[in-house]
Amino acid sequence: MRIVRNILSGLADLMREISDQNAYQRHLTEHGTTHSAEEWRRFSDERFRMKYQQVKCC
């Protein structure tokens, strides 16, 4: 049961990481700020700028 719970929580964590939600939480913690539309836009602009300068594989 614990293994299943660990796998599910790992999957949920992976999904949050892929969707940048974890990165956003880290951003909020690092800047000591709380979630707001403006903060998300600031974070995502910076995040996407870096993300879309990287090549994607074939």
């Binding site: 790992g10 964590d13 992976l14 999904m15 949050r16 990481e17 892929i18 969707s19 940048d20 939600q21 974890n22 990165a23 956003y24 880290r26 951003h27 690092e30 979630h35 707001s36 539309a37 998300w40 836009r41 995502s44 602009d45 910076e46 995040r47 996407f48 700028r49 870096m50 993300k51 879309y52 300068q53 990287q54 090549v55 994607k56 594989c57 074939c58």
Partner: protein
């Protein structure tokens, strides 16, 4: 007592590994020796899984422990340079998922499907052996090298380890490969959607869906990416259902587009995606595509395990002699460049020296992430070859062979294909087209439709039968097109940045990412470059894939050659010649394969294979007055294109030859003692991460 217990556990593990090795040997032996009878796909699955386990546990561990001496206590760039953005200490399995999502594109799906024209055997052996001894080693060593060098890129490592020439050549090669890659993947989408209102509507619908998601995330529910992706997924699945209705409605003809119109639409899309704000189109599509990609790959694996389909394709076909209709060329060297991603892919080296090294918490994580992810991608390629080979070979060739080879009518095509010994009838093809909601499945080249057919059959057998075949076929087309378009828009953007980097040195304003004339002009230049090759592929009487896919395969494998040269240089500097063979063996193989394939593509006297022979044949026909009217202009452009392809192929070979010669010079210097063996790693810093944190 404890030592007795440990001894007992040791014995059990030895027995387990002997059983795994035995499983790999028996299954590989069975698929290699089986002739004239259909074998179950599980032989391939077990052979692959057992080989990967052995490769990972023993070869991977040997490289990790003895060659790279991965150090658990050495702080990684993610820890030392942590900034919350690029350098972030991340859980091992999350980095694994991120890295896999970045390296797995359409390549491991399309390449194996095309190479199935030789039969399943050459492709499967190359995918398994190539990944264990080549692809996984390359990804692993480059990831390690980047981790030990502050997460530097392949170009930077090349410049520092091999020399300035190597660095510049690597950058130019990457840009050229991207242009060919973008052209060939967009051709795959065009060929899958031409004349298909269902598919065209579904893909067209993903664009407003992505824009809606972008607005949702930006203004309505900022930060709720998972919620937004779930909404996007529901709408996308709805568009697959909607496409069926559209195809039979009065709107159907509006979505029934010829290949050339689709090519123009994709070019316009590529330009817009490169110039529009990222949050509006690229980012939401990227999220959706990643989730769909991972979900479908897992579903396909479950489907194959549940259905355990039998392979209809023989182990080897008559086309190993080079007369294949899907693409020209003998099994050697063309099987090994057609399947690039899935066995060895130079592009992976860019990911392994991109975001991944900046996220690893421990050096030792490079083993599962670098080596393990490549094995998983290789398994995706095995699943793709299974999907292609579960179809009747006659159907496979009817779908994948261009009209220029098999004939323009259904009767001509089935006569030609049946004459090759792969019986197929026009009624069979018509029934199959009806069952998936298409008007025809003849000559749907590019690999995507036949992969979608195979996948749909596996899913339909798993439950629902023929009633759901159409849905699964179009779901598979949507899945392939979705992440091909993601590569297209992201690739165009990255290509524009690279060009800005290069041209910014010549004239500073061109290098500024915020200067709109520069952004628009250079986006147009990149789109124009891949768009030119796309149009060329659409107009090619042999379907375009025949010319472009080998060109892309050669380019990708040549990039792997550059990456393995750099890896060899690093191993040589670390240990002297003792462990050079680890990267030198796959490097030598790739050099032989790619230069042989490149030479044949340029100079083969067979017009179906050699670009120059094709140009000469067309020129002779023109001079003899066999072509008249509007055909003259078209033929002249075909002649120009064939010569251009030859020049591009020659340029790739020349660039890689420069890097190889530069590397050989350096290796000789080090081995003979004439040059210093200086390892350019960042200094050792003790990790302060505790077990839990890492």
């Amino acid at each position: 007592m404890d030592s007795l217990k440990r001894f007992g556990i040791g014995i059990v593990w030895v027995a387990v590994w002997i059983a795994v090795a035995g499983g790999a040997a028996v299954c590989l032996g069975a698929i290699a020796t089986s002739r004239g009878e259909h074998i179950n796909s599980m032989w391939l699955v077990i052979a692959a899984v057992c080989s990967y386990l052995i490769g990972y546990r023993f070869y991977g561990k040997f490289i990790a422990a003895r060659v790279m001496t991965l150090n658990e206590t050495r702080a990684t760039p993610a820890e030392r340079l942590e900034n919350g953005h690029d350098f972030v200490v991340t859980n091992k399995w999350i980095v694994f998922g991120q890295h896999f999502a970045a390296i797995a594109g359409p390549g491991p799906l399309v390449g194996p499907v095309l190479a199935a024209q030789f039969g399943y055997l050459p492709g499967v052996l190359w995918i398994i052996i190539g990944a264990v001894f080549g692809g996984a080693v390359q990804d692993f060593v480059i990831l390690f090298a980047s981790v030990r060098r502050d997460g530097k890129s392949l170009g930077q490592i090349a410049r520092e380890e091999v020399g300035k020439v190597g660095g510049i050549v690597a950058l130019i090669t990457v840009l050229l490969i991207m242009i060919i890659l973008l052209a060939v993947v967009s051709l795959v989408v065009v060929n899958a959607l031409a004349g298909s209102p269902w598919g065209t509507f579904t893909i067209a619908a993903t664009m407003p869906i992505a824009v809606l998601m972008g607005l949702y995330l930006r203004y309505w529910r900022p930060g709720k990416v998972l919620e937004c992706s779930a909404l996007g997924f529901v709408l996308t699945v709805g568009s697959v259902f909607g496409g069926q209705w559209i195809a039979t409605s009065p709107l159907g003809p509006a979505f029934t587009l010829p290949a050339i119109a689709l090519a123009v639409a994709i070019i316009v899309y590529g330009f817009l995606a490169s110039a529009l704000p990222v949050w509006l189109l690229l980012a939401p599509r990227g999220y959706l595509s990643t989730f769909v990609k991972l979900g479908v790959i897992v579903m396909l694996a479950i489907g194959i395990l549940a259905v355990r389909p039998e392979l209809q394709m023989p182990a080897l076909t008559r086309f190993t002699d080079g007369t294949g209709p899907v693409f020209a060329g003998k099994v050697f060297p063309f099987c090994f460049i057609t399947i690039a991603c899935g066995a060895v892919s130079g592009f992976h080296a860019l990911i392994s020296s991109g975001t991944t090294p900046k996220m690893l918490a421990r050096e030792t994580h490079a083993w599962p992430v670098g080596y393990g992810c490549m094995l998983l991608e290789s398994f995706v390629a095995v699943m793709a070859i299974i999907a292609a080979c579960v179809m009747d070979p006659g159907v496979y060739f009817a779908v994948n062979a261009p009209a220029g080879v098999v004939g323009k009518t259904a009767e001509a095509a089935v006569t030609t294909i049946s004459g090759w010994g792969f019986p197929v009838t026009a009624d069979q093809m018509a029934a199959m087209a009806r069952s998936v909601g298409e008007t025809t499945l003849f000559s749907r080249t590019g690999g995507a439709p036949s992969f979608a057919l195979g996948m749909a059959h596996i899913f339909a057998k798993g439950g629902g039968g023929d009633i759901v075949l159409g849905f699964w076929y179009h779901f598979a087309i949507m899945f392939e097109a979705l992440f091909i378009l993601t590569i297209l828009d992201a690739g165009t953007r990255v290509g524009r940045f690279m060009l800005q980097d290069l041209l910014g040195q010549v004239w500073a304003p061109l290098g500024r990412t915020g200067w709109m004339p520069g952004v628009i002009g250079l986006s147009a230049a990149i789109v124009g470059a891949w768009g030119y090759f796309l149009i060329q592929g659409v107009r090619d009487p042999l379907g375009g894939v025949n010319a472009l896919w080998p060109l892309f395969g050669i380019a990708n494998q040549l990039l792997a050659g550059i990456a393995l040269s750099i890896a060899t240089t690093i191993l040589l500097k670390m240990h002297g010649p003792k462990y050079m063979w680890i990267t030198c063996v796959p490097l030598s193989w790739l050099v032989v394969v790619t230069f042989a394939a490149g030479w044949q593509k340029i100079f083969s006297p067979a017009p179906a294979l050699g670009f120059l022979a094709q140009a000469n044949q067309l020129k002779d026909a023109l001079n003899a007055g066999k072509i008249t009217g509007t055909g003259i202009g078209q033929t002249q452009s075909l002649i120009f294109n064939a010569r251009l392809d030859a020049a591009v192929c020659g340029l790739f070979m020349l660039l890689v030859a420069i890097v190889l010669i530069d590397s050989l010079r350096l290796w000789y210097g080090i081995v003979s003692g004439g040059r210093e063996r200086k390892v350019l790693e960042s200094p050792f810093v003790m990790s302060r991460l505790q077990g839990e944190e890492a």
